[in-house]
């Protein structure tokens, strides 16, 4: 058997790093359907999982891939799938099922330019609102955006930990550029990697309620076969898990689903500041675009312009409070992203009277730093 954690220095791409992060986090089931530019995640999982006692299945399509990881998660293991835009669209119905059944799992979207088949081999960040609202109904999601192969490794572990802690699907919103980019990735020793596993129920089996909130508002989750009675349904259900078609039950269920995220924002939201202390203009960015933004900050500072960067590591739930606080003391926000305005709308919503701009891109390439600088110069002129 090969080691579960490939401790050491590697020069690998983001997709491969994501797969290694999943294995290190304890993922033991991958159900997927290959699609550029996410194929290397599946490829790596197909090679690695059999060596660590896990299971890899290539399903017939992305609908089945998503369903398979929910079923496998209910057997008590950590599960993942990876796809790109077209597959992500097919998964949307089951994403809702994952949310309402509070099934922990990790879904990786290595974004490419769309709509539809779009540019299969070229990057974009056009699915940022789809991940937030793509399935029907009202809900909260957790989505992380890695900026490098190293973060593909690190944040995949974080995604599993959040998913297990909050019993909810967690999304890795990567992109073709980070997915296919190779850089040095340092994999720590196994004992230095912090992993979280779902809380299992204890106590009398005849009194068990699979959706009764415990710590952090999250219900302990048994595996099928543990002896607890479980009923898993997409219908509105009470704490016992059985369908109840009433407004009161709907409210109770929704409060639990929304509350476990909304009441734990400080634990879930991760951001990184770069030269924000004295910034007049704040760039807001995530994923590969943050690398453009970082370069733009450096170049702006050389010109004497006070520009800083707020990098969103967690994109959803959106760090509203941070933007509101910054809005009290800055002159403008510029959101840097590979779409023509998605997260920028969230920024502008929270910015109040402070003007917001988008340094966007139609997809297929990164936003050039000069595009960001041009807006910053105009704002500060």
């Amino acid at each position: 058997m090969k080691p579960q954690v490939l401790t050491g220095e590697h020069f690998i791409n983001g997709d491969e790093a994501c797969a290694e992060g999943a294995i290190a986090a304890g993922c033991r089931f991958f159900g997927g359907y290959p699609i550029t530019p996410a194929t290397e995640v599946a490829e790596q999982m197909s090679v690695r999982l059999p060596h660590v006692g896990g299971t890899f299945i290539q399903m017939e399509d992305e609908i089945a891939a998503m369903t398979s990881i929910l079923g496998a998660a209910w057997t008590g293991i950590k599960t993942m799938t990876a796809t790109s835009g077209p597959g992500f669209s097919l998964m949307m119905e089951t994403v809702g099922l994952a949310i309402v059944t509070e099934t922990p799992c990790v879904v990786v979207n290595v974004q490419r330019a769309g709509p539809s088949t779009g540019l299969p081999t070229q990057g974009a960040q056009g699915d940022m609102m789809q991940v937030r609202w793509g399935s029907h109904g009202d809900y909260e999601v957790i989505a992380l955006a890695p900026s490098s192969p190293q973060e593909m490794f690190d944040l995949t572990i974080t995604a599993f930990n959040l998913s297990e802690k909050y019993r909810t699907p967690v999304f890795i919103m990567s992109d073709e550029i980070v997915g296919h980019m190779s850089e040095k990735v340092v994999i720590p020793e196994a004992r230095k990697i912090r992993t979280v596993s779902r809380v299992k129920p204890a106590g009398r089996k005849d009194r068990f309620k699979p959706y009764q909130p415990g710590l952090l508002g999250v219900a302990p989750m048994p595996a099928i076969g543990d002896g607890y009675n479980v009923h898993v349904t997409g219908l509105t259900h009470d704490e016992k898990g059985y369908p109840v078609m009433s407004v009161d039950t709907q409210k109770e269920m929704m409060d639990r689903l929304l509350g476990k995220i909304r009441n734990n924002l400080d634990d879930i939201i991760l951001t990184e500041d770069y030269r924000l202390e004295d910034a007049d203009v704040v760039l807001v960015s995530y994923g590969v675009s943050a690398r453009t933004a970082y370069t733009a900050v450096e170049e702006a500072r050389e010109m004497g312009l006070r520009v800083g960067l707020l990098r969103l590591i967690t994109v959803w739930p959106f760090p509203e409070q941070r933007i509101r606080e910054l809005a009290k003391r800055v002159k403008a926000f510029i959101t840097v992203e590979i779409n023509m305005g998605q997260i920028s709308r969230e920024v502008e919503r929270c910015a109040g009277t402070v003007p917001g701009f988008t340094a966007g891109h139609h997809g297929g390439a990164v936003v050039p730093p000069d595009d960001v600088l041009k807006i910053a110069k105009e704002v500060l002129a």
Binding site: E9, H10, F11, N13, T36, P120, T121, Q122, I177, H180, M181, S182, E183, K184, R291, T292, Y294, T295, E298, V366, P369
Partner: protein, 196 residues
């Protein structure tokens, strides 16, 4: 004053199927793992798996690299005519242009380091090793990566069982590069003909 950043940007380009991305990956790996520098590799290719235009961009620096794309290359490696036509203006005035001698006819506007990498690979019995021969050549004529780091990266990147064959190919390219450098030195010193 800020310390000067030692940063080199490389474009490796040709057809899909020539091992362009692997060559870029080996360069990046040699810099990161062997020479302990920062390096990043991004790639671009079309939806087809072979025959389309293909490009690998590598940046090697002693500082963390944020923006991963190459604007003007310090080293431009072309393994097809169409790749050369597309990228020939994306090279710094003092940069190195490196080509596969039989596959690229340059316009003669700048000095070229050329090697018949594909022909040499065919002579070794494996046309697909042209990229590794080219890598040996690039290692010899440029200052991108150390020979030791490049050899280690070749060894750990090629399919199991083909290491020896690929290292031999690397040596071929490397030695060709060294003799090319000597030739250039002699030429610069005004010596020609039989002596060179």
């Amino acid at each position: 004053m800020a310390r000067k950043i030692n940063k080199q940007e490389v474009i490796v380009t040709g057809f899909g199927g020539q091992g362009i991305v692997l060559a870029g990956k080996i360069l990046g790996m040699a810099a990161a793992l062997g020479d302990h520098k920062e390096s990043t590799l991004v790639q671009s290719y079309g939806p087809e798996s072979r025959g389309g235009a293909c490009c690998a961009q590598v940046i090697i620096s002693d500082r963390v690299i944020q923006y991963p794309y190459v604007n003007m290359a310090d080293v431009l490696v072309c393994m097809s005519q169409s790749a050369y036509e597309k990228y020939k203006d994306q090279i710094k005035p003092e940069g190195y242009l490196i080509t596969d001698k039989d596959l690229v006819k340059p316009d003669g506007r700048r000095e070229v380091f050329d090697i018949p990498a594909t022909r040499m690979a065919e002579e070794l019995g494996r046309k697909m090793m042209a990229n590794i021969i080219m890598l040996g050549f690039v290692t010899a004529v440029s200052t991108l990566v150390s020979e030791k780091a490049a050899r280690e990266a070749v060894n750990s990147s090629v399919p199991k069982g083909t290491e020896e064959m690929n290292l031999k190919a690397f040596t071929k390219g490397f030695e060709y590069g060294l003799s090319k450098l000597k030739g250039k030195e002699k030429k610069a010193a005004g010596k020609t003909g039989a002596i060179a």
